[in-house]
Point group: C2
DNA sequence: TCGGAACCGGAGTTCAGGTTCCGAATAAGG
DNA sequence: CCTTATTCGGAACCTGAACTCCGGTTCCGA
């Protein structure tokens, strides 16, 4: 999908880059609701050019989302470098969510119900989930997360927070509640 | 929208009911992805009939969603009758979510980002939010919920759980985590 | 039983947005 | 420079789904 770097005429490579750029910005802004014509215009290119580089809208979206998952993987790797397991966990969680906050396409990919799941596609190309597992494992090990907390639970929580990304930053409140618990002192 | 009960010819009333029924079932199943033709067929009626009773798809959806919010209000009222504030709270939460589990249209209404928000529309017609406020207030009063817990937080949590309704019942795990907290014993 | 107002049905229209096509434009080797 | 394979651009096309239209049918009061 992201395709041949070599043997592309100069203008072709330039245009491909412009398309990728414009698409990234627009998808991030409005998810998959943006239309091909708009992306082409924003990239200063005709729709035909879009279709020379990407088979269809889905392929373009896939390329953009793939990139995001890679960035997310890098972010996770960085978080994992923190000594303190809890710091690593929090860094991962907030990094993940803050990225999602600025990227509707990413949220779309994570929250969407369509088959095949974007998440699963990405999982095959990056080792994001392995890193998440390690970070979660460390936090559990250190007793900072309940003993039965699993990597899958991280995803549940991330999804929950993303569902609350609607303009205001309600999602931070949501995360606060989850991290601190909602119970009162009375038991 | 739900319109004149009186002065409708017998067949008209019958058809309207059939449409409402079919639409409720289909929307619950697949959200707003169902198409008008399908609803008409399922109701044993022509599309023309759909449009005589409802101005457009949105109006039909609104009628169905309105109904759901009313049912939800009844449910909340029942929950509020429980003596124990915590029981009331849990009854509300699980009742709300279990209903949502079986109704994609309701989830669509609560999670959707479109303006105007379905939630807000419903809020004007029912006193659901007032009841939620009372139940939350009681639980806080009794010390079962953290002192700063607000009715808005209930919505955040409900949304979070709904975002995890994807076939499996991950959402129950999500709620468990939120209710019990995710921290380990190590403080 | 009859007249006509109200209603029905579903083929056809409209519209939006993704995708294709092909003559024009351009890069890059000789 | 010239040649030609490659790429560009964007009008035209296609598809799917919401919605309209109107001849035929049904209800219901007199």
């Amino acid at each position: 999908m992201t395709a041949p770097e070599r043997s592309l005429r100069a203008d072709a490579r330039r245009n491909r880059e412009a398309v990728l750029d414009a698409a990234a910005r627009l998808f991030a802004q409005r998810g998959d609701a943006v239309q091909m014509d708009e992306i082409a215009e924003r990239a200063g290119v005709g729709v035909g050019t879009l279709y020379r580089h990407f088979a269809d809208k889905r392929a373009l979206l896939a390329a953009i989302i793939g990139r995001r998952f890679e960035a997310m993987t890098a972010l996770a790797r960085t978080a994992d470098e923190a000594r303190d397991p809890w710091v690593a966990f929090e860094t991962l969680l907030y990094g993940y969510l803050e990225s999602a906050e600025g990227d509707a396409a990413f949220r779309f990919a994570v929250l969407g119900a369509e088959e095949p799941r974007w998440q699963d596609i990405a999982a095959e190309k990056t080792d994001l989930s392995a890193i998440i597992e390690r970070i979660v494992g460390r936090a559990v090990e250190a007793g900072r997360l309940r003993a039965d907390f699993r990597a899958g639970d991280f995803v549940l929580i991330a999804r929950g927070a993303m569902a609350n990304m609607t303009g205001a930053d309600d999602w931070r409140r949501h995360v606060t509640l989850v991290l601190q618990g909602i119970r009162g002192p009375e038991r």
